[in-house]
């Protein structure tokens, strides 16, 4: 059974520098998920994408998708009125 990785703490997440930001604010499921998948093609393996979303379901969606497809979900931290979710491309 596929399991989601344990996220990093807030301090570690806030210190991250992502290689690509996906602004999916205002979009609801499955929008942010599809945007994240498209964004993966524009970064190298090992690089980090950061997804901004106002939909609270995004973090669990991205966590599950990362686990299934083989990327590393690093965690989610609060921005101002939205959440920032970090994923490392592994494939």
């Amino acid at each position: 059974m596929t399991t989601v990785t344990t996220p990093l703490g807030d301090t570690d997440l806030l210190a991250l520098e992502s290689d690509k930001v996906v602004d999916a604010r205002g979009s609801a499921c499955p929008g942010p998920l599809l945007e994240a998948k498209k964004a993966m093609n524009s970064v190298q393996i090992g690089q980090i994408i950061e997804i901004w979303s106002s939909d609270p379901a995004t973090k669990t969606d991205i966590g599950a998708w990362s686990a299934k497809v083989g990327h590393t979900y690093l965690g989610t931290v609060a921005g101002e009125g939205f959440e920032r979710t970090f994923v490392v491309r592994r494939k």
Binding site: P30, L34, S54, D61, W65, K68, V69
Partner: protein, 135 residues
């Protein structure tokens, strides 16, 4: 069990098409092959000359309920969601040959999103090993 997902899509209203498109897109994004069989009202909704029409809401929407659908909050139209799902993953949309006959339609009347027409046996063979949903 392998992770291919097969959907018998029977309903042709906006709400159910949206739900089907969301499931399809999610599965496609997760690398799960999706096979869709269009029957009856979904087949009718996918006609090239009707696909962009307003297909209304299911009977459930006319009954008293606690929550009203909020005006398309960040929601991608179902048609666009199916298009993106096809671009992002392995999605096959097939018109049910039986429903084409029932509705008096030729496969050529379908929107280009529909890949081909086929019978129930080929759909069930492709569904082997995975899960089947009826919407």
């Amino acid at each position: 069990m392998s992770d291919n997902l097969s959907i018998v899509l029977f309903s042709g209203t906006e709400d159910k098409l949206h739900a089907a498109a969301t499931i399809t897109a999610g599965a496609a994004a997760m690398g799960m092959p999706v096979s869709i069989l269009l029957m009856y009202w979904a087949l009718d909704a996918f006609r090239a000359d009707r696909i962009t029409n307003d297909h209304g809401l299911a009977y459930d929407a006319s009954r008293p309920r606690w929550n009203e659908p909020v005006e398309h909050v960040g929601e991608m139209p179902w048609l666009e969601t199916f298009r993106q799902a096809k671009e992002l993953g392995e999605v096959t949309i097939r018109a049910c040959a039986g429903s084409l006959a029932t509705l008096g339609l030729d496969a050529s009347a379908m929107d280009p999103l529909v890949d081909d027409a086929g019978g129930i046996a080929s759909f069930l063979l492709a569904a082997e090993g995975g899960q089947i949903l009826f919407i």
